[in-house]
């Protein structure tokens, strides 16, 4: 039976169609492989000897394979301190942002006849989405509030993310009105309805927003480089500063003995690659499992009927 069905399907496909399917699939697999090449090259570089890397002899596979870079990395306490600070940032930043936008999304998911003043808030948030004061004024405000070199400089400015809030608003709107009304008749207030009725049925949306926010915080690096002192740099800012300083020095060093001695203390390309690879690891490990939430959120955020 199975066999007959298979044959039947086979017969239906015209040769030209089969040729197309084979070529198309192969080309797309090739394309996906090309997309992976930079990562393979990075991993190979981190596992190669310094000489091979400097000679430009590394492609997909490590040359003169060695774990030296990872061994040096293991002894770098700044790297792991930065890693820890990033984790702290992700956790506090995500919790804070989730509280703020969940609270905001609930009233805004109501119609303006139920929630008077909704129009004002919509205009307010739309303005913040479309126009910004720019980098310099934002920097000065944060500095004047003395938030520099505290975790608040990293988590407060991005906590009110209007786009994520819109995503939640759309989900909250789909919660059946009957559920809320039943709870209200029982005497529940809005906070209670939000926590006990709306949130439990919106868990997929919450999961999406949590993942988005957590990834944003893990990936953010620019704010860290301008607001934080070296002892409190998150991982991505630490990596940016390290590579940026090393590159600047490399460009400006001369062949004098002092400069050459300084050059020897700079992190090698293999060490840089090892650090980049370790910083990517958390996302790469979570991503395959979280992908479906990401896709759901992205589609909901952009495709709204």
């Amino acid at each position: 039976m199975e066999n007959i069905k298979f044959n039947k399907q086979h017969l239906k496909i015209a040769p030209s169609r089969r040729a197309f399917l084979i070529i198309n699939t192969s080309l797309l697999v090739l394309f996906a492989f090309v997309c992976l090449v930079p990562f393979l090259n990075l991993l190979a570089t981190s596992l190669s000897s310094n000489d091979a890397v400097n000679a430009g002899a590394v492609g997909f596979l490590p040359v003169g394979i060695t774990g030296t870079a990872y061994k040096i990395l293991m002894s770098k306490t700044e790297f792991f301190r930065a890693f820890g600070y990033s984790v702290l940032r992700v956790v506090t930043g995500t919790v804070l942002s989730l509280v703020v936008i969940t609270l905001g999304a609930y009233p805004l998911s109501k119609t303006s006849s139920v929630f008077r003043g909704r129009g004002f808030y919509v205009v307010f948030f739309t303005v913040t989405m479309f126009f910004s004061g720019g980098l310099v004024p934002t920097y000065i405000i944060i500095t004047r509030l003395h938030l520099n070199n505290t975790i608040f400089a990293l988590i407060l400015p991005t906590a009110m993310n209007a786009w994520n809030m819109v995503l939640l608003i759309n989900f909250f709107r789909q919660v059946p009105k009957e559920l809320e009304e039943a709870a209200k008749i029982e005497g529940a207030g809005h906070y209670r309805v939000l926590v006990q009725i709306v949130l439990p049925v919106s868990l997929p949306a919450i999961a999406t927003v949590v993942l988005f926010t957590a990834v944003q915080h893990w990936n953010a690096w620019f704010d860290g480089t301008i607001y934080m002192q070296p002892a409190k740099l998150p991982l991505q800012s630490y990596i940016y500063n390290m590579i940026n300083e090393a590159n600047t020095l490399r460009q400006n060093l001369t062949s004098s003995p002092e400069d050459q001695a300084l050059l020897a203390t700079l992190p090698t390309k293999t060490l840089e690659s090892a650090q980049i690879f370790i910083a990517m690891l958390p996302i790469m490990l979570v991503y395959p499992f979280a992908q479906k939430f990401f896709i759901k959120g992205l589609v909901l955020g952009s495709v709204k009927e």
């Binding site: 198309n24 004061g133 992908q291």
Partner: protein, 311 residues
């Protein structure tokens, strides 16, 4: 007469429960407070662009200079170049990503083996979730003189070139690596739109004897056309966003001529140079105003054409 009927036919307004309203307002308090401090206050800080700002006198004490900063700015050749670079890079990104994502979504949709389809999609989407510090530095290393790109080219007998410091190639590398990082997003959006097409349409067309190419041309493509139009309109709003974080990681002083954009210039002048806050703010304001016009126009268009609303 008719008009009066309409008015009287309107249902009585719901009674407002003041306490309930206050509860709802209180929920928005944290969001409003944060947005006011970190988004609205910086907008007020824009007055710096019209001052000769110094830290001692602050926002309200610094001398007012009118449009002086802008006058100085427009006289600078590197400012004009940065504006041009911004638009060139942003526009190239929008065009490349739109065209390629449509083609790739249609082709990925044709893969008949589920596991391969899923794997290809997963791999293409992966860089979207990594930061520019990491990806940008990978690209810089790849395209440096001793990098992986030259290694692969050496098999074709090409002499090593330092691509990343070349004004001829810098923009191409920037656009290509942005395609690599962000195209997964639009592909996913288009694939989702393809899934939403009514399967009955395909059935009916097959019964009428349509082949696979005709199905793609006459059902799939029109089925996602509405989404293509919407995404393209919304993308126009990004015409001034050439990718600040990406350029900041990838550029070097040798490629300022082709790679410096308004954001990076505002950063270098406003924050890295001492006492140039006002000039940096002026560059930021110039960009924000043009950006806001394009953003508003694109969302207005999306609303008019497709009924798209943010809230």
């Amino acid at each position: 007469m008719e008009r009066r009927q309409v008015i009287t036919a309107r249902p009585a307004r719901k009674k407002i429960n003041l306490k309930e309203q206050l509860t709802l307002h209180s929920m928005l308090l944290p969001g409003i407070a944060l947005a006011t401090v970190f988004q609205i206050l910086p907008m007020i800080g824009i007055i710096m662009a019209f001052q000769d700002y110094n830290v001692v006198d602050g926002f309200f004490g610094s001398p007012f200079v009118g449009f002086m900063n802008f006058y100085d700015l427009f006289m600078r050749p590197d400012f004009m170049q940065a504006t041009l670079n911004t638009v060139i890079i942003a526009f190239s990104k929008i065009v490349c990503i739109t065209v390629l994502s449509i083609v790739l979504a249609l082709l990925i949709n044709e893969i008949r083996i589920g596991a391969i389809k899923k794997t290809v999609q997963t791999i293409i989407f992966l860089p979207y979730f990594l930061s520019w510090t990491l990806l940008g530095n990978i690209m810089v290393d790849m395209f440096s003189k001793s990098g992986g790109f030259n290694y692969f080219l050496s098999f074709f007998g090409v002499e090593p070139v330092s691509w990343i410091t070349s004004n001829t190639w810098f923009r191409t590398i920037v656009v290509a690596s942005d395609v690599w990082k962000t195209i997964g997003y639009q592909i996913v959006v288009f694939l989702a739109a393809i899934v939403n097409i009514d399967p009955a349409l395909y059935e009916a067309a097959r019964i009428d004897g349509a082949n696979s190419r005709q199905l793609c041309r006459h059902i799939t493509l029109p089925g996602i056309m509405s989404m293509i139009v919407l995404m393209s309109i919304l993308n126009i709003g990004n015409i001034m966003n050439a990718g600040f974080e990406q350029i900041l990681v990838m550029y070097n002083y040798l490629v300022y001529e082709t790679g410096d954009i308004l954001d990076t210039m505002a950063y270098r002048i406003g924050l890295l140079q001492v006492g140039q806050y006002s000039m940096g703010t002026a560059i930021g304001l110039f960009k924000s105003v043009i950006s806001c016009v394009f953003f508003s126009a694109s969302y207005f268009l999306a609303y008019k054409v497709k009924g798209y609303k943010i809230f």
